[in-house]
């Protein structure tokens, strides 16, 4: 394990940016661990949410933005709801996710690919088309066998459709994506 030099590796720009974009004061966190205690994803996380908070406090940008946890967070906001210091932890997670994406820190391709496949499916169909998403994701990652076991369970229940269902407002949804593309390009 690496030794962290607390003063030399402290990235103050990172801390300021997280504080500005989230509107939260990182020093308010006293590391009680209640966010981790209530987080439904703790067992899947590589770095628990309270440790994400601690590392962010300590200005450890690299380690935070490489965390897989950022992409597993479901934004259920249990952490925010229960924080004794009224810190919006989920908002901080969101800010960190944005930063990681923008600055190309997304280390695990799978998570990024999943979200890309998900969003492209929504863009094209107005809502997610599961089989399309699956094909897209598998073709980019080559993970054929990972979720195959789910097939026999969901197929007989009619949960999986082989072509996208028509829905109202499909164009409007596509417009949202267009607007995002235009505005983020500016």
């Amino acid at each position: 394990m690496k030794v962290i030099n607390i003063n030399l590796s402290y990235n103050s720009d990172f801390v300021t940016q997280v504080e500005e974009e989230s509107g939260q004061k990182l020093n308010n966190c006293y590391q009680c661990g209640k966010c981790t205690a209530g987080c439904p994803y703790t067992e899947e996380y590589d770095i628990s949410v309270s440790q994400i908070m601690r590392l962010t406090q300590a200005g450890q940008k690299e380690q935070v933005l490489q965390a897989n946890s950022l992409w597993l967070c479901a934004t259920c906001e249990s952490c925010t709801a229960r924080c004794p210091n009224q810190i919006d932890v989920a908002r901080i997670m969101d800010v960190l996710r944005h930063m990681a994406r923008k600055e190309g820190y997304v280390g695990t391709g799978r998570v990024k690919t999943f979200w890309d496949s998900f969003l492209s499916s929504v863009k094209n169909n107005g809502r997610v088309f599961e089989v399309g998403l699956l094909v897209n994701y598998i073709s980019h990652t080559g993970r054929f066998w990972t979720d195959i076991g789910l097939g026999p369970k969901v197929l007989p229940k009619g949960k999986i459709h082989f072509k996208p269902t028509e829905m109202q407002g499909k164009k409007e949804v596509a417009k949202i994506f267009m607007r995002f593309k235009e505005e983020s390009a500016r």
Binding site: M1, V3, N5, I6, N7, N27, Y30, S50, Q51, A58
Partner: protein, 652 residues
């Protein structure tokens, strides 16, 4: 004597593992017992009424209560039997809680042991005699040992209450540790601004006599009538004429004397006044550094002193004071942190103690309130504070928490930012113990407003890296090993009992714990009393304490003294040794063994006999076991009474 026995359930404390009804039934068969019962809570009001009623109804002459330890309720039940018209010594207690029910689960064995204990108590009670206290006059003066904030508070409260106070302080000024502090938490008040006026009050109060630079040589006597021998150490300056002008300090050529007041940050002159607000503001010569005293050459101070008060021939002087009570407020000292080799053991000049840092922060300190690295005088940028140095560490024999370091570290981190806005403070801590009014808010302020970086973990080593010090520790919250490049390291060194505390305790005849802190009479209910009547505790001599707690205990001790002196006479404890003059052969062995000097020789019809001074005797019983004739007997624990208990136990 008709005896009544009460076996207490103590709720379920005793009843759960002792068949109290069976114990009462067994007691009914003992010789002398005419009444025995078991009760739910004997100490409660209905429980006590039951005793009173039984005494009247059955015309009882003595009572045995089988319940908890006598330390808990012996006084309670003595008052109960007194209320029913019996002498309070016609009462015995059998401890079937601490000695039986709490330590064993076997109900049958417990019941049998309880029966034995009740039988022993009954047999002793049958031999008890009524005892009566004597009254004696008291001297309504009080001695306060130690002139720190606790002692000052106790002295001022006693003096304001109309008592004459004698204060003895080891160093040449009062003020103690608080006088060395720059600011106080959590208000960041200037320490000397709030303490200074109190120190002046001590100097000016008509009821207070102050002996500074003095120590307790000897203590004799007992509550109400102590005789104290005070050693006034030689200052080589006649304090009656010294005006504290300070000219001697300016001219003294020996400028390398250890500056004790400034904790060794900087040096002072051989003749010195420790600090500008010193009380009394009088100069004294440090004989280790004065060239006149060490080599016989110099004499500059004697030449320049406008009042002619230098006296190189001065000797220690002894004075005797008579007082009726003593308040001990001897404070604490810092743990000797040089045992920590991993922190440099004192080899790195830029690793200092919190108290040294405090002197550095103080405007009247050796650096004029500027934070400087002792090594090169440069302003530090990264300052690392390490908590729990000599606290919560079994490996150095200090497993206890000093309790105030978390707070003073937070205060110092805040002050550091005020002094050096561009600096960055780091605090390595194990836990933040901020128990007190506005305390936690204060430590949070250090983090939230002053951006002090708190790192949860101990530091494992410090080593030099160029001009800096590399501090290697852990951040257990982050789960990694961390290091900081520090310019200055401040150790939050814990408190230990003050030097000489145990020797003083022996003179006071009070007990102290394994760390040298004085023992209070009861950890909950007698926090300022000691087990020696008339001796009270105030401040950190009883255990590490912050300023508010020390002041509170100072006032509490004063209240105890004022309460004690609200009577003109005190009652002596009649449980003392008495000499049977017919049996005494005058061998004097008891006189030799008595630890209190309570036995003296007397002449009776031309023969030498021992005589006990009842007010000094503490009832320890050493004389009774020494006496070859059995002539000296401790009342209420005579040989016959003890043997009757042994016989009751060993009858089968």
């Amino acid at each position: 004597m008709k005896v009544g026995v009460f076996v207490c359930h103590c709720g379920s404390n005793i009843e759960a593992t002792v068949d109290t009804a069976a114990v009462a039934a067994a007691a009914r068969e003992f010789p002398g017992v005419v009444f025995a019962t078991d009760t739910m809570y004997t100490c409660s009001e209905p429980g006590q009424d039951e005793i009173v009623n039984a005494i009247k109804e059955h015309n009882l002459g003595g009572i045995v209560v089988a319940s908890c330890t006598p330390r808990m309720h012996e006084q309670t039940f003595r008052r109960t039997v007194e209320r029913a018209g019996l002498n309070k010594y016609l009462f015995e207690m059998a401890n079937i809680r601490e000695h039986v029910s709490w330590i064993g689960k076997d109900r049958e064995a417990n019941t049998n042991k309880s029966v034995d204990l009740v039988r022993m108590a009954t047999e002793k009670l049958l031999r008890n005699r009524p005892l009566y206290s004597k009254k004696f006059d008291i001297n309504k003066r009080v001695l306060v040992i130690g002139g720190g904030v606790a002692g000052i508070q106790a002295a001022l409260d006693c003096a304001d209450g109309g008592l004459e106070v004698v204060m003895v302080e080891k160093t040449s000024t009062i003020g103690g540790k608080m006088a060395k502090l720059d600011k106080t938490f959590p208000t960041v008040d200037c320490s000397s601004c709030i303490l200074g006026p109190r120190m002046v009050d001590v100097a000016q109060h008509p009821n207070i006599t102050l002996y500074a630079y003095s120590e307790i040589e000897e203590i004799n006597g007992y509550v109400g009538n102590f005789e104290i021998k005070v050693k006034k150490k030689a200052t080589y300056v006649n304090w009656d004429s010294c005006t504290g002008c300070g000219i001697c300090m300016e001219k003294c050529p020996s400028k390398k004397a250890t500056d004790y007041f400034n904790e060794g940050i900087g040096k002072t002159t051989a003749i010195n006044i420790p600090f500008p607000q010193a009380i009394p503001k009088k100069a004294k010569i440090d004989p280790d550094f004065c060239t006149k005293l060490t080599k016989g050459k110099c004499g500059v101070c004697a030449k320049v002193c406008p009042s002619g008060c230098i006296d190189y021939e001065m000797q220690d002087e002894f004075v005797t004071e008579k007082v009726g009570a003593i308040v001990t407020a001897t404070g604490y000292d810092l743990f000797d942190w040089s045992v920590y080799g991993e922190y440099g053991a004192g080899r790195y000049p830029d690793v200092i103690t919190g108290l040294q840092y405090e002197r550095m922060l103080s405007a009247s300190g050796p650096t004029g309130g500027h934070i400087k690295r002792p090594s090169d005088g440069k302003e530090p940028k990264n300052i690392v504070f390490i908590q729990c140095v000599g606290s919560r560490d079994k490996s150095v024999g200090r497993p206890y928490c000093t309790g105030f370091c978390c707070m003073y570290t937070a205060k110092q981190a805040i002050l550091t930012k005020d002094h050096l806005p561009d600096s960055q403070s780091y605090v390595f801590y194990m836990d933040i113990r901020a128990v007190g009014k506005l305390y936690d808010e204060f430590t949070r302020r250090a983090m939230e407003e002053y951006d002090t970086k708190y790192i949860r973990g101990r530091v494992s080593m410090i080593y030099p890296k160029g001009e800096k010090l590399l501090v290697r520790g852990a951040d257990t919250l982050m789960g990694s090993q961390v290091e900081v490049d520090a310019d200055l390291v401040v150790l939050a060194v814990g408190a230990e009992a003050s030097a000489g505390a145990s020797e003083l305790a022996e003179k006071l005849r009070i007990s102290y714990d394994s760390y040298g802190f004085y023992m209070e009479g009861h950890p909950k209910l007698k926090p300022v009393e000691t087990n020696t009547a008339g001796v009270y505790l105030a401040g950190a001599c009883q255990g590490p304490k912050d300023i508010p707690s020390s002041v509170a205990q100072g006032s509490a001790a004063a209240a105890k003294v004022l309460g004690l002196f609200s009577k003109d006479q005190l009652e002596s404890d009649p449980q003392v040794s008495i000499v049977d003059i017919k049996r005494c052969i005058g061998c004097g062995k008891c006189i030799q063994t008595c630890p209190f000097g309570a036995i003296k020789e007397m002449e009776f019809r031309g023969m030498v006999k021992a005589d006990v001074i009842e007010t000094i005797c503490q009832g320890c019983g050493i004389c009774t076991s020494t006496c070859p004739q059995g002539a000296i007997q401790l009342q209420h624990s005579t040989d016959n009474q003890i043997l009757s208990e042994v016989n009751a136990l060993c009858q089968f």
